[in-house]
Subunit: 388 residues, 2 copies
């Protein structure tokens, strides 16, 4: 993985007054695309296309600064995700393709480079994030409908801007939409070191909520200790491992921790037997909200938990939230999250350099996919696709 470069950490000049980082006219753009769904290691490839012409009246051109490779993006490429990108017949006008392509990526930070004549409220140089899904952010430049972008609230780093539309709102909404929690209340979650999990820990801590966090045990105790330390530094109240769920006295230990306060919210991205065991720790009238299933096993629960303990189970999908909420609500949520100044997720920036051929860029992106498929990436991968 030596070709994956660390984040260059370009400093901001000042919040809201970022310099427009364009240069002289480029010859071309580049995108990571696929013709048909399949294994990302074999179907993804880099392709170049001409510089974009001026945008139509209701659209704008953007240069993508940084776009994450989220797990869901891989599922989209694999064809196993319920949301699909629209196929593109051309990546730039006059650049007809032999067959339609799909541009990978759904989330991303972009800078506006040109604004259509009828677009109001967005100016050249503004930083924007995607308000729609599956717009194809693994590209150096795109023409987007003005409806599809939201201006980024001020004060965020590139990395936080590029990762603000999926994981932090997932965490925020799951903490707010199901149970009315009061300061001092406890929330339980698994996959606590996932990107969403870390956002949950931070948002909960900022709101005076306590978190009971579960993670996988590590072969080396030091690794576990340092993970626990890391999560606690984010604001985690307590970090336990799934192995500890086997401990028959855990219920009593948890009661000791919470002072007997019932746990009424469980956030789940794991499912499988560990989650079944966690449900036993819940109090009456609790809500289990699922946003992932990393165990690839079903969520299997005793029916009695529903009937006699009034458990309710839901799923949360930030894409649905966007579909069912107005532009004003989206902007308000992003502003709220921006004010929280969450810590940047652990990440690696992968650059597709300007000087590289499409073939070499394809090889580079497939290596990233290989590493992700093997689970070698603890960190979030962010793509920076330079204009070739």
């Amino acid at each position: 993985m030596q070709r994956i470069l660390p984040s260059p950490r370009r400093p901001l000049t000042a919040a809201g007054t970022r310099g427009l980082a364009t240069s002289a006219a480029r010859r071309a753009n580049r995108a990571v695309v696929y013709h048909g769904t399949g294994d990302p290691r074999s179907v993804l490839h880099a392709t170049t296309y001409p510089d974009l012409p001026r945008p139509p009246p209701h659209a704008l051109n953007v240069r993508l600064l940084l776009a994450p490779v989220n797990p869901a993006d891989l599922n989209v490429v694999e064809g196993v995700y319920p949301a699909r990108p629209a196929p593109a017949d051309a990546l730039a006008p006059g650049h007809a393709l032999a067959r339609p392509v799909y541009v990978g990526g759904s989330e991303g930070l972009a800078q506006v480079t040109d604004v259509g004549s009828d677009v109001r409220g967005v100016s050249e140089g503004d930083w924007v994030v995607m308000a729609g899904q599956q717009l194809g952010t693994w590209a150096s430049a795109r023409t987007l409908s003005a409806e599809d972008v939201v201006k980024l609230p001020p004060g965020l780093s590139e990395v936080n801007g590029a990762t603000i539309t999926v994981n932090p709102p997932t965490a925020y909404n799951m903490l707010h939409d199901y149970v009315k929690l009061q300061e001092g209340d406890w929330v339980m979650q698994n996959g606590a070191n996932s990107a969403v999990g870390q956002a949950v820990i931070q948002i909960a801590a900022k709101e005076g909520l306590k978190t009971l966090n579960f993670v996988r045990s590590r072969r080396v105790q030091d690794d576990l200790d340092s993970l626990k330390q890391q999560l606690k530094s984010l604001g985690a109240t307590e970090v336990l491992t799934y192995d500890e769920l086997e401990d028959k006295s855990l219920g009593e230990r948890v009661k000791g921790l919470t002072g007997g306060k019932p746990l009424r919210l469980l956030l789940n991205c794991v499912s499988g037997p560990a989650t079944t065991q966690m449900v036993r720790l819940l109090g009456a009238d609790a809500h289990l909200v699922s946003y992932g299933a990393m165990s690839r096993q079903p969520l299997a629960l005793p029916t009695s938990a529903f009937i006699f303990r009034n458990l309710a189970c839901h799923g949360f999908w930030q894409s649905r939230w966007y579909q069912t909420h107005s532009r004003a609500e989206r902007e308000a949520l992003l502003a709220r999250l921006a004010r929280m100044q969450l810590k940047e997720p652990e990440h690696e920036v992968v650059v597709l350099p300007a000087h590289e051929s499409d073939a070499d860029a394809t090889e580079r992106i497939r290596k990233v996919m290989e590493a992700l498929a093997k689970g070698q990436h603890g960190k979030k991968v962010l793509l920076r696709i330079e204009q070739p």
Copy 2:
């Protein structure tokens, strides 16, 4: 099972004007009790106790006319049900027991035989049902707090009166409390021939809802045909078997049936793999409401159904409903159900005759438990405990 007698079908004189069916003073009463939880076949026994004295000011004496043996009652005796009866130190004043007993039964129809001086709105001769749970209805006579009974709405048979507080309200509330259904909408359920299932079919039909009902297949096709016919005569729109869930074209068939209308409510008393398969037939934003788990297997669902199809799972427990609703709400619900004139559930009345010894009555009740344990009872058992 030759000692289980058919219902004597005592005709009512007229709705609301039932004759007070007491006679000259009785020597004694009888109850089916247990000292400690365990297998109902071995811990239950019949015991006699003296005639009841006049009730205290806020209480009333009732003679139990008919009390069902519900599956939950057996779970209570087994000690595996979350609700417990209060132990009775005496079944009648001055009749101290060597050790406390629990009187079995929670549901039942009773006739008021004597009214405490401060009780208003209830008179001698009124038919009442239990407003509280686990009051001990497997008895010939009890003294109850006036708060614990609700006057039965007029126009109901003994059997309908004795079975109106658990199954029909479970069906009614599950149909109304989770999804706002419109006339012509479809509801799916399993265990459709259970007592609740039959109430669901009838209430849905009366409200213009269509039902997609699942039942176990039968070894003999005629048995299945006659079950289907029976459920359709109650108002079932369609009856399918769990075996048909294996049929890959079932999704298309169901679409044909419903005209593509999405199924948004699934009522579950089975759980296990068949229920998992039924969930695939649900549309988006559906609610799965569980009130039983006859398969004794967990409810195992793909997490994706929660996340991407916005499935929500709940449990319904009529006991909780009573705890969280006012007396006026309870009475309104029973009145609404009484007006619906649901068909009597299939039943057998088991009489513990007056002339029988406690030992013989114990043997009789244990035989009933044996038959229930072996699943030999398709019909609801109703106890009529005569005053010995």
